[in-house]
Every structure is written in C-alpha cells, then in structure tokens.
C-alpha cells in the first residue's frame, strides 16, 4: 500500500483551497492532518476519497488512479449520514455489498465489526434514532467492513462529547494495528495521542511534515526541569559548577537547567542528583507542548 498525492491543487471559483499539495503515505502509517479551520483539510480528504476532482495534480494508490482503487479505501465523512430508515445491520450490509463483499461473508463480519465498535446491542435499531457518537461508530464500522488498505477519516472525533471521543479514539488506536490511517483534526491532543506522523496544513499548503518526536525535539531548548524539595536547595550550587551546565534558573522549587546536550547530559545530571541524595519530585525535559508548537507554526508562518 502506498498513497501518493502529487501536486494537487483545488480551487472553488477564485479561491484556492488546496495549493500544490504533495504527500506520500506508506503502509502501516498513521498520519494526522492538522490545521486550523479552513486550511483545506476536508477538501484534501475529499480529493483522496474521490468525492471531488482536483483541478491539477493527481492522487495515486499503489500507482493507480484513486478512482480505480475505491475498493481499497474506507472513508469516514465528517458528519456520517446514513439512510435513517435502515437499521445498523442493513446499513452495513448495503455498504458492504456495494464494496463487492459477498453477502455470506458479510453476515459474519458485520456481527464481528458491530461488536468491535460496541453497537452489537443496537444492530436492529433504525439509524435515525442514533446519537452522534453512535453514528460515528457506525461510520467507522462501514469504513472498516470491506477491509480496506487505507482508511481516510475526516474529523473523526471533533463533533463528539468527551465520552464519545474517548470511545472513538480507543477504537482508532485498535484498528491502527491493521491498516494505514489518514485522519484530519484540529484537536491536537487527539492527533498527538494516535498518530506518529503529522502533516500541518495552512491556507492549502503543507507547512510541516514530521514525526511527533522530531517536532518536539526540534522545538526544545536543551533545558531540563528538576523539581526538588525545599531542603535540597543547596544542591543547585553544586550543579552550577558542573562542566556541561550552561545556565540555571530557579523558579520556586523548579530548577531549569540548560545543558549542552540533552541526550548526553540528562543521565549525568540525574546521577549527580541521586549521588547527593536529592529528593526529586519531577525530572523532565522542557518541551513546548504540541499546542504551543502548532500555534507558533500556524500563526507565524
């Protein structure tokens, strides 16, 4: 499985929504597409799932045009809408058969998948009676049903309450093991939780494509934060003399230690603290969290 998005551009009337966007996805990856509202995430996702055609560029799956490879894609729309008069089981049967899965196979796999998404008890209820979270879970079920090699999800959790969000996130966490996932969101903590790789979009262009650890490391300032108890204040004077410590800043009981290199020096500092029998409350690498980095990237650039 390999998804290639090559120089895709889409404009509506005069407004360019996605501008010369390229991206490559390999098998087994979980990629989070993040960006502010109106960045073009949904448009891009719709082009990947062949709902709208790009003005220029192309989307290829395994080297073939996406319109020929629909069997390999599972798509979850932002607001999944089903026929209100169908039951959950009928909906899955309908969508599954349209994807070319045999009826006999579906009978078993639907039971399995409804159990997985926690809708087994509701399999014969009409979709019209479902809550937003249940529709979302049914949406995930239909996206998974035909065992696609790529699952594309447009804001899978944004419209849900905290409980529904938790449910859907853990569900995605589970399916991540078997398939490649591309999901868009503007809630960073969600993306941070499930995806390893991030693509940050703004005004239709890609401004960042990176692994989360790289992103965090790149934006850290080689500072370690050690929170200690009041009785160990004098330890601060000891570490001031250490060769690799460049600067020290004390805020209450937090000691911010700037070192030459985090990788090499963090263990040494910790060892030093232990040797001096320092009562450590917290020992961490000073990172901007993802939200701060995101704001920095999106607002500044």
């Amino acid at each position: 499985m390999k998804l290639e998005i090559i120089n895709v551009t889409k404009s509506f009337k005069e407004k360019i929504v996605v501008n010369n966007f390229s991206l490559e996805l390999k098998s087994g990856e979980c990629v989070g597409l993040i960006g502010p509202n109106g960045a073009g995430k949904s448009t891009l996702i719709k082009m990947i799932s062949d709902i709208i055609d790009p003005n220029a560029g192309e989307v290829l799956l395994n080297g073939k045009k996406i319109s020929k490879m629909k069997r390999e894609i599972g798509y979850l729309p932002q607001y999944p809408n089903f026929f209100y008069w169908m039951t959950a089981r009928e909906t899955l049967m309908f969508m599954g058969q349209l994807s070319g899965v045999k009826k006999e196979v579906l009978t078993n796999s639907i039971t399995e998948i409804l159990t997985k998404v926690g809708l087994k008890a509701e399999e014969n209820s009409k979709v019209g009676t479902f809550s937003g979270g249940m529709k979302q879970r049914l949406g995930i079920a239909q996206a998974l049903l035909h065992k696609p090699s790529l699952i594309v999800m447009d804001e899978p959790v944004s419209a849900l309450d905290p409980i529904g969000r938790r449910e859907v996130l853990s569900l995605i966490e589970e399916i991540k093991k078997d398939t490649t996932i591309l999901l868009s969101t503007h809630i960073l903590s969600d993306a941070e939780e499930i995806c390893e790789r991030f693509v940050i979009m703004k005004d239709g262009t890609k401004i960042e494509d990176t692994k989360i650890t790289d992103l965090l490391n790149r934006n850290s300032e080689n500072k370690l934060i050690v929170e200690i108890t009041a009785k160990d204040r004098k330890w601060v004077d000891t570490i001031k003399k250490l060769p690799y410590v460049e600067d020290i800043e004390v805020v209450g009981l937090k000691v911010k230690v700037k070192v030459e290199s985090i990788e090499e020096n963090k263990a040494l500092l910790l060892q030093n603290a232990l040797e001096h029998k320092v009562d450590i409350v917290k020992f961490e690498i000073n990172n901007d969290n993802l939200e701060e980095i995101f704001l920095k990237l999106v607002v500044q650039k």
Partner: protein, 262 residues
C-alpha cells in the same frame, strides 16, 4: 451488475417503508375510477343538485363510447393530476441523496454512476408503471361496466404507448432531480415542462413528431378510433432518443461531480 441489484433492492425497501408502494397505486386507482364514474353519473348529479333550471345536458355526454371515456382518463386525469403526483413523488429521487451526502458517500464505494442511475430509474419506473397500469385497469373495468366495452387489444396498445410517455416523465424528473438543489424547483420545472409538452400536442405536426407527450395522444387515438397514427413509429423512436438524452445528462452531471457545491 451486482451493485445495480443491491441499489434496486435498497430503493424498494425504502419505498416499502415510506409506504410509497401502497399510496402511489391507490392515487392512480382513484384517478382511474374518477373519469368513468363522473362521466356516467354527472347528468344525474347535476339533475339532483342543480334543479335543472337553465342546465341542458348534452345527450351525447351520456352516450360516450367506452374507448372515449378510457382515453379521457389518460388525457384528463393521468396527464394532469397523475403527472403532478408522479413528479412530486419523484422530485427527491436524487436530490435527497445529494442533500444529505449519501450520493457522495455511495460513490466512494466502487459503484459505477450508471449503476446508481439505473437503480433509481428501474425501481422508480417500475413503481410508476405499476401504478399507472393498475389505475388504467380500474378505469377499464368501470368503462366496460358503465359504457360500451373496449377491445382488449386496443386497451393494451393504448397502455403501452402511455407507459413510454411515463418512462419519459420518470427520466426527466430524475434528471432535474440530479441537476437542481431544491425540491420545489425540481417539482416546478418538471411539472411545468411536462404539462407544457402535453398542452402543445396537436398544435403543429412537426412539433408533435418531436414531442414525447405525443405518445399520450397516440394512446388516446388508439382507444378512440382503434387506429394508430402512421407517425407513431417515428415519434416512438424520438421519444427513446429523448429518454436516452436525459439519462446521459444525468450521468454526465453526476460523473463530473457537479452535484457537490461545497
């Protein structure tokens, strides 16, 4: 092909749950029964209610032939109220799928656009044809009972002509449903255009030849005179051309994703 069957089946389940399979035939049964009953009892009704002052009843009214009454069922009931009911019952055929995103959703599956349109056309035409046929048979039974008998072969030929006109009604409404966004506009355009076609029949022989609504006129002529106009074959072929054209436009519209206005 398999997708087509799945989609047709889905349409029927939907029609069953919306009770369309029940109410649409009932509407046409009423329409079919209205004409012969009204024609037969109108003089009696007028006499009873109007006190007969100043009203003269044309004796030829009550002496109409069966074929004429059956023909006026088509011309006065089916082509007016019946046509409106058909257009209104089908105005959402593609529009609702567009509006709630199901069309885009279905097309993310390996479903060919012709399968989707085929599913809609086959299912909705069959229910429309069934309703028209059952209404027409009702009218036929009343006509045979209250007026002179209509020969069976004439009745069937008339029905076949009329069902081809019905096919145009269905395909045209499906096309407007694919193109326009609002149900009101779809119903308005379909009804105005289709009734307009029906109204201009008989004004000009060349226009008649091109007009799909002439199929309805051929049906009526067959019932009244027992003869088929020699132009009927050419008109029949042209009607099929129009039907194919509407299907082609529907297919073009959906394939090129002109339905998503986001």
């Amino acid at each position: 092909m398999k997708n087509l069957i799945v989609l047709i089946k889905k349409e029927y389940v939907q029609m069953l749950r919306d009770f369309k399979v029940i109410w649409l035939p009932i509407v046409f049964i009423f329409l079919g029964a209205t004409q012969p009953i009204l024609t037969h009892y109108l003089p009696a009704i007028l006499k009873a209610l109007g006190g007969s002052q100043g009203i003269t009843i044309d004796p030829s009214m009550t002496a109409q032939k069966g074929g004429e009454v059956l023909a006026s069922t088509l011309g006065s009931q089916f082509d007016q109220l019946g046509l409106m009911v058909l257009a209104i019952s089908m105005m959402g055929v593609i529009q609702t799928d567009k509006a709630n995103g199901m069309l885009a959703f279905i097309l993310t599956r390996p479903v060919a656009v012709p399968s989707y349109i085929g599913g809609k056309m086959v299912s909705h035409y069959l229910i429309a044809a069934f309703s028209v046929t059952i209404g027409y048979f009702t009218s036929y039974l009343y006509v045979n009972y209250l007026f002179t008998a209509v020969p069976f072969s004439q009745m069937i030929t008339g029905l076949i002509f009329y069902l081809i006109w019905t096919l145009f009604i269905v395909s045209f409404t499906t096309m407007t449903s694919a193109i326009f966004q609002s149900q009101g506009i779809i119903a308005l355009i379909s009804i105005v255009f289709l009734i307009g076609c029906r109204v201009i029949v008989g004004l000009n022989p060349i226009v008649d030849q091109l007009n799909p609504a002439s199929m309805s006129k051929h049906a009526m002529e067959k019932l009244m005179t027992g003869l088929v106009d020699s132009n009927a074959v050419g008109n029949l072929l042209l009607t099929f051309v129009w039907i194919l054209l509407t299907l082609f436009i529907t297919n073009y519209w959906i394939s090129n994703k002109k339905f998503s206005h986001e």
